[in-house]
Amino acid sequence: MDIFNNLAQGIITILTVQNVLLLLAGVTLGMIIGVMPGLGPTAGIAILLPVTFGMDPTGAIIMLAAVYYGSMYGGTITSVLINTPGESATVASTFDGFPLARQGRAGPALVMAAIASFIAGTIGVILLSAFAPMVASIARTFGPPELFLIVVVGLLTLIMIIGKNRILGILSALIGFALATVGIDIGVGEQRYTFGSSELISGIDFVPVAIGLFGVGEILYSLWRGAHKEHLDFGKISIKGKGFWPTRSDFKESNGAMVRGSFLGFFTGLAPGAGATVASLMSYSLEKSISKKPERFGKGAMAGLAGPEAANNGASAGAMVPLLTLGIPGSAATAVLLAAFLMWGLQPGPLLMEQNPDFAWGLIASMYLGNVALLIINIFMIPTFANVARVPFRILAPIIIVICVLGTFAVHSSMVEVGIMLACGVLGFFMRRYGFSPAALVIALVLGPLAEESLRQTMIISGGNLGIFIERSASMWILAVMVALIALPFVSRRITRLAAMAVTEFGRRRRGTPVEPSPEAQDSLGSPGSPGSPDLLDLSGQKKDVNSPN
């Protein structure tokens, strides 16, 4: 296998003492940056870019890839521990990660997130190595119509997230859309809702809103509820401690979620724009919809953390495909990497991998080794982070507010954004208090502009004709997948019922006695090899009757 030779070669090339040190330094620095609210992978790479000027391209890319992974994982740490996602891709990790931490299971949650990231990284790198050219030809068909459809899929997943109160959930999402319309409109450059403020021209950024709604809002809500009077007693968390490692049932619950999330993430990550965010949301709603215990989601289901984490990491491997094979960045972080390529005198484009194989495979290999380093470092660092949960809330609360304020300020040095952050903190309190969905608001804020832009671009391209979605084969495929996704919960229920009926019927005829569907009959559905299981693709009661041995 040529490709795996290349990958192995890449790994061997970069395994020098200096490079391994760079790798470890990058992962650690990245984690520190990612833990700061507001600073994510993009900021991390941009901040450390100048540091890499003096290095050779391979050393530099190793360091930056490590920073990329480290800061993504850093964002997960804050999502789990203080309910504050550092970037939109880790919003989904707060849904179950934070409840887990509140139950005193921060250690297992963080370990599981690291394992999920590692597995997704592994699957992603294998997919990237094996299918890069093929996948590139898919990625190059994603124009504005396709992007619009993918964003719509992401928005549809909101339905799974908004929880019990549908009306307030939808209202939360709509408020997010409304906030997203602030700023210069991409179509004709008109200013909307800026009230003459030059700070609002670029719109309301995701970061202060998310830090406010989740971070500060959570603090205010907990204070209102009296958490500062609580005397919580979590045991000390250490690697040797029993409560540190995920339990066997955690793994059992998460294994499938991690694998599904990895694949989902990788393929969604190919689309430029919303990749990782949409992927993590899709994974969350997928896991919730196929889970046997959907009611546990949002209350600390391990699969609800492992799936999105894997999808998020899979998407960052996916985003590397258009970058390496087409020279097209799929996310803000990869755009900064592209700029770095130029600075090192590399020509991004379809020939990058052919002309600079050492570099390209070195990058892929360092992505993989970055994952390994992350896993190892994490196992040692997580106890430190997880012990944050042991600090009494009355001390932790003001500290988190200081971190949120300074973190928000550090992003753009903008006082207006710090003000927006605090205002969103108060809004977040009321939203929590009255059963709104802050997550739906934040996601709508991220995806709203993408949806509007890509729809308007599509309409200019098609001359106002909606038929463009079925004229382009790529968008037709996405439409078909979308319809299937929407139909799946209904159809699967029907299929299960029909199948159960068919099996019952089958059994009844065999035994010649009418019986209700028995647990055994239900169970046999799960094992395709068993004689009673019907062919799900070939489902009709009559047909079974005809074929039945009677």
């Binding site: 068909t141 004709v188 200013q191 700070e199 021209i201 379809p350 990058l352 391209i461």
Partner: protein, 330 residues
């Protein structure tokens, strides 16, 4: 050791500034800054765009060169104040009027943003340091398009009711380029604005667009691979790397604008600061590192100092205004 170095550098810079300040007495600008003591404070360097963009890279390259040659004795604070097509960052400079320690780099938005938004400033408000280079664009088609020359393209486009073209930003240089080219060719366009280059490029590759204009540096790889093909270069002379691609002027299309990449100080900056920076930047643009930056990013060197810089900006700005009001966008 390091302190000693800094001292030496500061002294040598001082030696440079004193005679300079001597000739600028007539500047008239009331100088709170003592000529001999500039620069004595931390420099606040605003990048009006996000990390990774052309403007960001240029600013970081400049700062690197300045630090490498120890040209600025104090600390330099580099800050991305992005948003509103530069409105936020240059607005920050406006708020620090009169300061000699607030500096920024320019791009095409420096001209177009004030035209479309009420930013409270135009380029004329700032203190010019100099223009270093200009950023030109390439008119690009999908690689599998049978059209190979500009003439063929015009023939094809005239035959259509309108062609779909794309670029970055709603009313930016890209749009003006497309409008001017369409006017010269006598065809109609539907312009699709994009927010970033990745989406623009996939739109072209996925056949959603008929044509686009692109930055040279990031698009060359597409040409080499045959995924896209260049038809026209908007610069003054042909690019070394693309010797077969004609310029607009060769095809009889004149007055195509380019993005001015220069440097400005806050409005009403002290004359001594302006002079110090002009002298310093003259050294920076002579370094091999700067030449390497121009080469690797395929930028055209275009140097003008002080008011000459803004004269060039003014002529570009007037062109833009004519085009935009012709098509009723203003």
């Amino acid at each position: 050791m390091r302190k000693k170095m800094k001292l030496i550098v500061a002294l040598s810079v001082l030696g440079l500034v004193v005679p300079l300040a001597g000739c600028s007495e007539t500047g008239g600008n009331a100088t709170e800054e003592d000529a001999a003591s500039y620069p004595s404070e931390e420099l606040d360097w605003t990048i009006a765009f996000g990390p990774g963009g052309g403007n960001d890279i240029m600013a970081r390259t400049l700062v690197n060169i300045i630090q490498q040659y120890d040209l600025y004795p104090e600390n330099i604070r580099l800050e991305n104040r992005e948003g509103g097509g530069g409105a936020t960052g240059w607005g920050y400079l406006l708020n620090n009027s009169g300061s000699g320690y607030d500096i920024s780099t320019t791009s095409g938005s420096f001209i177009t943003t004030p035209m479309q938004a009420d930013t409270g400033w135009t380029y004329e408000d700032f203190t010019p340091v100099g223009l270093f280079s200009s950023d030109d664009a390439i008119f690009t088609l999908n690689g599998d398009n049978p059209i190979n020359t500009w003439e063929e393209w015009v023939d094809y486009a005239k035959g259509e009711k309108s062609v779909v073209v794309g670029g970055i930003g709603p009313l930016n240089v890209d749009f003006i380029l497309h409008a001017l080219l369409a006017e010269a060719g006598g065809y109609e366009i539907e312009y699709v604005p994009f927010n970033d280059e990745g989406q623009l490029n996939t739109a072209l590759l996925s056949h959603a667009l008929d044509a686009s204009v692109n930055n040279t540096g990031s698009i060359l790889g597409q040409f080499e691979a045959g995924a896209m093909k260049p038809l026209l270069y908007t610069g003054i002379s042909r690019l070394d790397v693309l010797p077969d691609v004609p310029t607009g002027e060769e095809l009889g299309i004149t007055g195509l604008p380019s993005m001015p990449r220069g440097m400005i100080l806050a409005p009403d900056a002290p004359k001594v600061a302006q002079d110090w920076w002009i002298a310093t930047m003259k050294k920076v643009v002579a370094t091999p590192e700067w030449k390497e930056y121009l080469d690797s990013n395929y930028l055209t060197e275009n140097i003008a100092w002080g008011d000459d810089f803004f004269d060039q900006v003014k002529s570009t700005s007037d062109d833009f205004e004519t085009v935009l009001s012709d098509i009723g966008a203003l």
